[in-house]
């Protein structure tokens, strides 16, 4: 298939349609509006459902209902809207329903601003809502990768019965890049025998989609099940990209669009004679702990670069476990780090300043 020039938001929406998403529930919020807009046009063309809900709260609960009835369902929003969805996401996680949630992050906290940010890393990777749970969090760094990860995200969701989040910043959503909608092989997925959509086949018990376990023993069993699933996902689905790390004396840790700036900074630093590589987690949860741990055995230091005030750095430090210094450079929402500023931060790290 030929490449087309598309905004990240539109590419995500089209990729979802191509991945067989049949139900989209959303609510307007900048900078992700092109996703629901695109869906409102495309869903009727493919016999799917688009609903502009009365709120983000309602939209995520529509996802709960549709996913619980067996549909390939998704929603998208941006930071304040994702906060509103957290109750529903926690229920979906506990009820073990598959779905895709897209967060095109804007700056915060509060109403914040509409410019790009990576300030929702904590919220996305540490659960976000109440209770002991995780989402699988995928962080694309290009429009192409965003499109590719949508299909993968749906498959991961279905395979493990888990909500999956695509975590992009406003840049991913708004910038235009060439994208090719590749033929997605797709995984062999289990049948959704658990879906509550009318008890037609009496050979199995009726289905109950639920997140209420009033007895401590039953609640503990569900939590243990979830943890087993998270361990399996960590084993099978952790993804990371390593760039120029083989001979690197210093490592930049960065995700999403920031990783592209990090790569430019690494190239610039190499011109100056500093051997720098980049480790880019593609899955923010599960976090590629091993890649950082191994890198810390060889490298002299790690610089974590984020479009926030330092969130992923906590996971990097845990992974590195004190083996080498881990320093931070970041900009808050709306300001994008420049390669020159990253190089300067690298020099400081090198000099131990």
């Amino acid at each position: 298939m030929a490449k087309v020039l598309m905004k990240g938001n539109e590419a995500i929406a089209e990729a979802a349609i191509k991945a067989g998403c049949t139900h989209f529930f959303g609510y307007p919020i900048t900078p992700q509006n092109q996703i629901p807009e695109y869906m409102s046009k495309r869903m009727p063309q493919v016999g799917g459902t688009f609903i502009q809900a009365e709120s983000e709260v309602s939209a995520i609960n529509m996802v709960y209902g549709a996913a619980g009835a067996g549909a390939r369902a998704m929603t998208s929003s941006s930071s304040p809207g994702i906060s509103l969805k957290q109750e529903g996401i926690s229920y979906i996680a506990c009820a073990q329903l598959p779905c895709l949630i897209v967060n095109i992050i804007r700056s915060g906290p509060g109403l914040g601003g509409i410019l790009p940010s990576q300030g929702d890393y904590f919220q996305a990777t540490k659960g976000g809502g109440h209770g002991d749970y995780h989402l699988v969090v995928l962080a694309p760094s290009s429009v192409q990768e965003a499109a590719d990860l949508v299909a993968e995200g749906f498959d991961i969701a279905d395979q493990y019965r888990i909500p999956v989040m695509i975590l992009g910043d406003g840049m991913i959503g708004q910038m235009m890049e060439p994208v090719e909608f590749k033929e997605h092989e797709g995984r062999k997925l289990p049948e959704k025998t658990w879906a509550a959509n009318g008890w037609k086949d009496k050979s199995h018990p009726r289905r109950i989609v639920n997140s209420l376990y009033i007895e401590a023993e039953a609640m503990e069993e569900v939590n243990c099940q979830l943890q087993e699933k998270y361990a399996e996902i960590t084993k099978n689905e952790t993804r990371v990209q390593e760039i120029m790390t083989d001979d690197a004396e210093y490592i930049i840790a960065a995700f999403g669009t920031t990783a592209r700036i990090a790569k430019n900074a690494a190239l610039k630093a190499r011109e100056m004679g500093i051997k720098v590589g980049v480790i880019r987690p593609v899955t923010l949860w599960p976090f590629p702990t091993e890649a950082f741990s191994k890198a810390a055995d060889k490298a002299k230091g790690i610089l974590c670069v984020e479009m926030n005030t330092g969130q992923m750095i906590e996971d990097v430090r845990l992974a590195v476990n004190g083996k080498v210094p881990v320093e931070f450079y970041g900009t808050t929402g709306g300001f994008v780090p420049t390669p020159a500023a990253v190089v300067e931060a690298l020099e400081k790290l090198k000099e131990g300043r």
Binding site: A53, E54, N61, G65, Y91
Partner: protein, 245 residues
């Protein structure tokens, strides 16, 4: 000997957890009987609320989902849009539907979602121990209106059926009661009509059923039925507030 009554097969054998004298049990039976009589067990998907009926999924013998507090109409929307031929119903109390879930019920009705809400109004939060609800009557004493509901500071009780009856997407809204046998019979007819309209694809339907809460009202079951009739019905008149377009 001729059998004159038997429990509907649409209810499981799990014993109800409801308090003695509470009319949730009657309403459960009526809903279940309607589904059985209409032959819709294999098409029914019910949504349990948060509140006294939170365990409804243990009792209705069909596919069920448990929703977050107030969100049942949104969950029902997702199910119905996935399975348009199913009978999708929510079972919600007044805290769930008339307080925290007002946005969801209003917009499900406004969109004309082809779902049915069974709205059980007992003018109080039962499960959490008797707090004031939006439907609590003026002067009614609850654990959070210990001096009686004061309209100056706590507003007037909300009439959901009248409110939703103003929406074009609502096809059938009726308020009934279960305080005596003739009204129980009327309630069953209303539930069946709501389900029939849904299966005919007419639009949103809701049956608001006035119900008792002897435990939190501080009355015995017989007094509670009388209290409902004398105090609730004057503020919540029975009848159809919307039928057709």
């Amino acid at each position: 000997m001729a059998k004159v009554f038997q429990k509907t097969k649409m209810l499981t054998d799990v014993p109800f957890h409801y308090c003695p004298g509470c009319t949730h049990g009657i309403i459960h039976r009526l809903v279940a009987e309607c589904i059985e009589e209409m032959g819709l067990q294999d098409k029914a998907v019910g949504i349990a609320p948060v509140g006294c009926a939170v365990f409804a999924y243990n009792y209705f013998d069909c596919d069920m989902m448990e929703a977050a507090h107030g969100r049942a109409p949104a969950v029902a929307t997702g199910i119905k849009r996935t399975c348009p031929d199913d009978l999708v119903f929510t079972y919600q109390g007044d805290g769930d539907l008339a307080s925290i879930g007002t946005a969801e019920i209003v917009h499900a009705a406004a969109r004309g979602e082809k779902i049915t809400a069974i709205f059980v109004n007992n003018a109080i939060y039962g499960m959490t121990g008797g707090q004031m609800a939006p439907t609590t009557l003026v002067g009614q004493v609850t654990t959070t209106s210990p001096y009686g509901r004061n309209p100056e500071t706590q507003g007037m009780p909300v009439r959901m059926s009248e409110m939703l009856g103003t929406l074009d997407g609502a096809y059938y809204i009726e308020r009934t009661s279960v305080h005596d046998v003739p009204n129980i019979v009327k309630t069953k007819k209303a539930i069946k009509k709501a389900f029939e309209y849904q299966m005919e694809g007419k639009g949103f339907s809701m049956v608001e059923i006035l119900s008792t809460c002897p435990t939190n009202w501080g009355l015995n079951p017989v007094e509670a039925l009388k209290w409902l009739e004398e105090n609730m019905i004057p503020h919540y008149p029975l009848g159809v507030t919307k039928e057709g377009r």
